[in-house]
């Protein structure tokens, strides 16, 4: 079964013929899912794990409500992981509960670039800043945002130092897309966060409000499509729709120029593709936690546990097809980027499968995954292929980490949390290493930009936008 949900990032119009094809595809595919999303509340199976540990709430199924920050219980480790799963379930279900063909919730959220526009004058449209009615096909670009002085946070590069790009086992770039919700948008517009002077003088201890969400999704290329007909011209992941949430996007191939990876500047090089979701960061603010809860989800085929990778020879646990791991790659050769071979496939394994932290934290994640999976098998089987890796937050009450997450003592949850598709090369850290309130340095072009300390720096949309605006003004 194939599922395609339009992300509609593309700015240039498609041919009427392709539009018609895409529309038909969406309708046809959505129809396939009707049988599972019945709209009737069911208790679902109860596993042993669920009885003994952190479990899904029955009222999450079959239709999940977005959790409300104000009523966040804020007491147990399980509460935070439940928030993550409930939010992910909501994000990935049709935006119109009465229309299973409607785009999923995360697909109709705003792109950061539509809020933080290049010229620094703010959004030109109401939230989400673009048409989401199906009239525009998506355009998932491989952007070298910061070095090209754009404000687009969609880029092809990994977290961490340098421009490390992730190439999957089929030799294709892993792409990323980012989103923010209406609460983020409204807060930014209300406070004119798109005005440089505002950002530079905002109260350092000012927080985002409750219910703000920001997301980052990672995608593999599943099929290359003919731009005119939509026909598959190259299959990268056979039957991708069976195991992955898929959608279509316009991709920009990458090229190596002067020893650096860049988006191919030739507009004609763009390709229409089916893309498959392999990871998602879900981060949001709940009551008493302005530091955001930072949770991340992965597709189960991404990578094996590093502990299972052989030192030599083969291991049944790793000797199969993975998205990001080359079968039987020895332990010491994984998760390493080769600066001298920029577009080589990277073999990836999971260094900290459940994000570390204490035993209860990891047990809760595993237990909750099992519980949710039990429900999903009945209602949304495709999504049983996705799992919560972990989540991290702080002691709360405005305990916002400074640079590199300091102090460690305020951090709670999955203390070594990474998504193999997004923090492949920095799996020993966690989200607060980079997302924190500390003073930041951001390279724009060949200029380092200094971003003063403030709680809003938790969002890199803010940090990167401020950096590019400072650069723009300086020129």
């Amino acid at each position: 079964m194939k599922q395609r949900q339009p992300l509609r990032l593309r700015s240039r119009p498609l041919s009427p013929r392709l539009l018609a094809i895409l529309t038909c595809l969406v309708v046809a595919i959505a129809g396939c899912r009707n049988g599972n999303d019945s709209g009737q509340a069911e208790p679902g199976p109860v596993s042993e794990n669920e009885m003994n540990g952190c479990a899904a709430e029955p009222d999450w199924f079959p239709v999940t409500a977005r959790p409300a920050a104000d009523s966040f219980p804020n007491s147990q480790n399980c509460d935070f992981h439940q928030w993550a799963w409930q939010t992910f379930l909501w994000l990935t279900q049709p935006s119109d509960p009465n229309d299973v063909g409607s785009p999923v919730n995360f697909a109709i959220m705003a792109y950061p670039r539509d809020l933080f526009t290049r010229g620094g004058t703010g959004p030109t449209q109401e939230y989400p800043g673009r048409s989401i009615d199906g009239g525009e096909p998506q355009n998932l670009l491989a952007r070298v945002g910061k070095s090209q002085v754009t404000v687009d946070s969609i880029d092809i590069f990994q977290a961490g130092p340098g421009n490390k790009i992730l190439i999957d086992q089929e030799g294709w770039v892993v792409y990323y897309s980012t989103y923010l919700d209406e609460n983020y948008w409204d807060f930014a517009v209300e406070n004119q966060l798109y005005v440089l002077d505002t950002l530079q003088n905002v109260t350092p201890d000012g927080d985002f409000p409750n219910d703000v969400l920001e997301l980052k999704a990672s995608w593999r290329v599943a099929e290359i499509l003919d731009e005119e007909t939509g026909a598959v011209t190259q299959t990268v992941i056979p039957d991708a729709g069976v195991r992955f949430f898929t959608t279509t996007a316009m991709l920009s191939p990458v090229v190596v120029k002067d020893g650096k990876v860049e988006e191919d500047p030739d507009p004609g090089a763009q390709q229409l593709a089916t893309i498959a979701l392999v990871g998602m960061h879900v981060t949001g603010i709940v009551r008493d936690h302005p530091e955001f809860i930072w949770a991340t989800f992965e597709h189960v085929d991404n990578a094996p546990d590093c502990a299972d990778t052989p030192t030599s020879g083969t291991n049944p646990a790793t000797n199969r097809a993975w998205s990001l791991y080359r079968a039987d790659t020895p332990a010491g050769s994984n998760n390493q980027f080769d600066e001298d071979n920029l577009l080589a496939s990277v073999s990836v394994c999971r260094q900290h499968p459940w994000g570390g932290g204490n035993e209860q934290n990891q047990d809760n994640i595993k237990s909750l995954n099992a519980s949710v999976r039990g429900h999903l098998e009945q209602h949304r089987p495709l999504w049983t292929n996705y799992q919560l890796v972990g989540g991290i937050w702080t002691t709360g009450n405005d305990a916002i980490p400074l640079n590199n997450g300091a102090p460690d003592s305020i951090q709670i949850g999955s203390l070594v949390l990474a998504n193999t598709s997004m923090e492949t090369f920095t799996q020993d850290d966690n989200c607060f290493a980079c997302h924190n309130s500390g003073r930041h340095i951001v390279a724009v072009g060949n200029t380092p930009q200094t971003i003063g300390r403030k709680h809003l720096n938790l969002s890199h949309y803010v940090v990167n936008y401020q950096a590019t605006q400072q650069y723009r003004v300086s020129r």
């Binding site: 130092p161 010491g332 980027f337 260094q351 380092p448 300390r453």
Partner: protein, 671 residues
């Protein structure tokens, strides 16, 4: 004798090799730190000979023939009252020169005695992974030049063959002449009641005494370990030798090769170390022995004298004295075994040097723009800044030296390679404590307690040397952290002084080696050190270690890390901006490797910026350029904020510098 207490400063002096007969005087200011108000030239620059403190310029690096000048260690004598001598810092001290008055008597001469030796070939190998721990529990690492008979370093045959020992030399301050540590000059020393005594029977030993045939890659034989001179004030200058190395033959026509970076059997080099003592001679013929003796170490050239190491030798030695030898009870209580949480370090003296070091690393390492910006931002931190508003607020970016797990973290600073057995470098515990106090808003603006001129020499000289990464380092190694190394009753001698084992020169016999195997760490042996007991722990020859210490993957390697990091770039520059590449004050886009040119090119990313054949470093070390501040570069209008390479005689071929991060292919890093 009255209550005046005399000490030689610096307590440990550094002389550096060059291939020129000429020399300049080693820096007496701390690298990278302000020296005079409103003077943009930072500390660390060497001093022109014959001057008090005139610093060199780029024209002074080489002699008229293009040879690299040597660096002399200058020693002076300071007088303290008993009250001053009993505390640290004393804040006092007056220099005593010929013509000064001590206890009512005029000083008419100063007689200096020094003794340099090189014991490297007779000592044990460096254990890269264990450092000083290789000496725990009565153990030793494997011997260098094993002889099949236990390789006992006290074996007279080994001592005769493998130790370079020219014997002591004494010189009068009034002589203003020189005396060499060579074979033909007679050993001599000052003897109480007898003055300068020659030792005709001193059992001198040089490589060509034991080996008929020697291979000299640079065509310069080892004929001396250095020289003593004095200046017009009676101060002592110790000059290093000429930086050569030689191998003997393992068989006919087969000189020993250089298979290793730090432990090469069959080789000698000409660096050395040993004690420096002095006696004041008064107008009435009486004398006053200077109680606080010093030590001199000769080692490699300073190729970036103004760039401070993240952890200097001073940081390590000071830390050891604070935590293990009760130097400053108000800072660290030995009774409690902990730092005083109320102690208020000085921002200028205790905290800012770390920020300056961070800011200056870009001039000797291939930073990318992000790293340059971040380090510059740290360099700008002022005493008035709220720590929370700075890049280092919360100290999240600083590796905690008390956290063993932190030594493998690659998101914390310093991001250079670590000490033996540690992946990455950590600050000393005292440095880290100072930073914690600063972060807790407990640092005082301005300078710390007044420090005397002699005490400043102790500090500045060591602040210009490499600390932190002792595998083995290049100036001095892990023994600097051993309390048994020093005179512990420092109120009598002054702190930071290496304890001298009494040397009965009068008993020297022609056919019996005078020196022994000497000091072994971790033996509770407080009998002191002989000449050669400091440098014997270093690489042999030093050139091969210097050559290799560009970039490596970490060892031990944290999981999944194939990135290359710098070894000790402030002492061994990796990538530099060449002054000749600067146009209209604008830095070139691309740096060059400090070690470049013929013989350096490679396809292996972890071998760039060095000679592919180790022997080439023995031949060409003197051609490497020196990084100095723009204000000290002649022939152009250079920016005071720029530190640029001058006086390189290497051609520009070889690999281009790629900005960091650099990697090795997955799976090929060290394990």
């Amino acid at each position: 004798m009255s209550g005046s207490i005399l000490r030689i400063h610096p307590a440990i002096g550094l002389a550096r090799v060059g291939n020129s007969e000429e020399y300049y005087i080693g820096p007496e200011t701390a690298a990278g730190m302000p020296v005079k108000p409103d003077d943009p030239t930072m500390g660390g620059l060497p001093i022109k000979p014959g001057t008090e403190s005139d610093t060199i310029t780029s024209s002074d690096v080489r002699d008229a023939n293009g040879a690299l000048k040597r660096q002399a260690a200058r020693f002076r004598i300071f007088q303290y009252s008993a009250d001053e001598a009993g505390r640290y810092p004393s804040g006092g001290g007056t220099e005593i020169q010929i013509g000064s008055t001590v206890d009512g008597k005029e000083v008419v001469d100063i007689i200096w005695t020094a003794h340099l030796a090189n014991k490297k070939a007779n000592w044990y190998q460096l254990d890269d992974d264990r450092g000083v721990k290789a000496y725990d529990d009565g153990a030793t690492p494997s011997p260098r030049n094993p002889d099949g008979q236990g390789s006992n370093p006290d074996n007279p045959e080994r001592l005769r063959k493998l130790v370079i020992d020219p014997g002591p030399r004494a010189i009068k301050g009034s002589s203003m002449s020189g005396i060499s540590f060579d074979k033909k000059t007679e050993a001599c020393y000052w003897e109480s009641g007898d003055g300068i005594q020659t030792i005709g029977d001193y059992p001198k030993s040089f490589p060509d005494d034991a080996f008929d045939e020697l291979e000299h890659p640079s065509d310069v034989p080892i004929e001396t370990l250095g020289e003593l001179q004095t200046d017009d004030k009676g101060r002592l200058l110790v000059l290093a030798a000429f930086g050569t190395a030689c191998a003997w033959y393992k068989g006919p026509g087969e000189p020993y090769p250089l298979p290793h970076d730090v432990n090469n059997d069959g080789w000698f080099d000409d660096v050395a170390d040993g004690p420096v003592t002095a006696v004041l001679v008064f107008e009435d013929g009486s004398v006053h022995e200077v109680g606080g003796g010093a030590w001199v170490i000769t080692t490699d050239p300073a190729y970036a004298p103004q760039i401070p190491n993240a952890v200097s030798l001073w940081d390590d030695i000071f830390d050891s004295w604070v935590r293990k030898l009760d130097l400053m009870p108000d800072l660290f209580s030995s009774a409690d075994g902990s730092f005083n949480s109320d102690y208020r370090p000085s921002f200028d003296d205790d905290v800012r040097p770390m920020f300056r070091s961070a800011g200056l690393q870009r001039w000797i390492a291939n930073f990318n723009i992000l790293a340059i910006g971040a380090h510059a931002d740290v360099d700008k931190i002022a005493a008035s800044d709220d720590p929370e508003d700075t890049m280092l607020g919360g100290l999240g970016f600083i590796r905690d030296p008390d956290d063993e797990a932190a030594s493998g973290k690659d998101r914390t600073m310093p991001l250079s390679l670590g000490d033996a057995g540690e992946s990455f470098l950590s600050l000393s515990k005292t440095q880290f404590f100072f930073l914690k106090q600063w972060n807790a808003r407990k640092a005082k603006a301005g300078p710390g307690p007044r420090i005397g001129a002699g005490e400043y020499l102790d500090r500045a000289v060591l602040a210009n040397c490499l600390g932190g990464r002792f595998s083995p380092g290049i100036d001095m190694t892990f023994i600097c952290r051993e309390p048994d190394l020093y005179y512990k009753d420092w109120q009598a001698t002054g702190p930071f002084r290496i304890k001298l084992k009494p040397l009965a020169y009068a008993q020297a016999k022609r056919n019996k080696p005078f020196l022994t195997g000497g000091y072994t760490p971790r033996r509770n042996d407080t009998s002191g050190l002989e000449p050669g007991d400091v440098s014997k722990f270093m690489a042999i020859p030093w050139h091969t270690d210097y050559n290799s210490c560009a970039t490596h993957t970490p060892a031990p390697n944290p999981t999944f890390n194939n990135t290359l990091y710098w070894s000790w770039p402030a002492q061994r520059p990796v990538a530099v901006y060449v002054a000749g590449d600067v146009v209209d004050g604008k830095l070139p886009v691309r740096q060059r490797f400090s070690v470049r040119g013929e013989g350096t090119e490679t396809d292996a990313s972890d071998q760039v910026g060095r000679y592919q054949l180790r022997v080439d470093m023995i031949r060409k070390w003197q051609d490497i350029g020196v990084v100095i501040q723009g204000t000290a570069i002649d022939g152009g209008d250079f920016d005071a904020e720029h530190y640029l390479e001058v006086a390189s005689r290497l051609d520009d071929s070889g690999n281009p510098v790629e900005e960091w991060p650099n990697t090795v292919p997955p799976g090929t890093g060290s394990t």
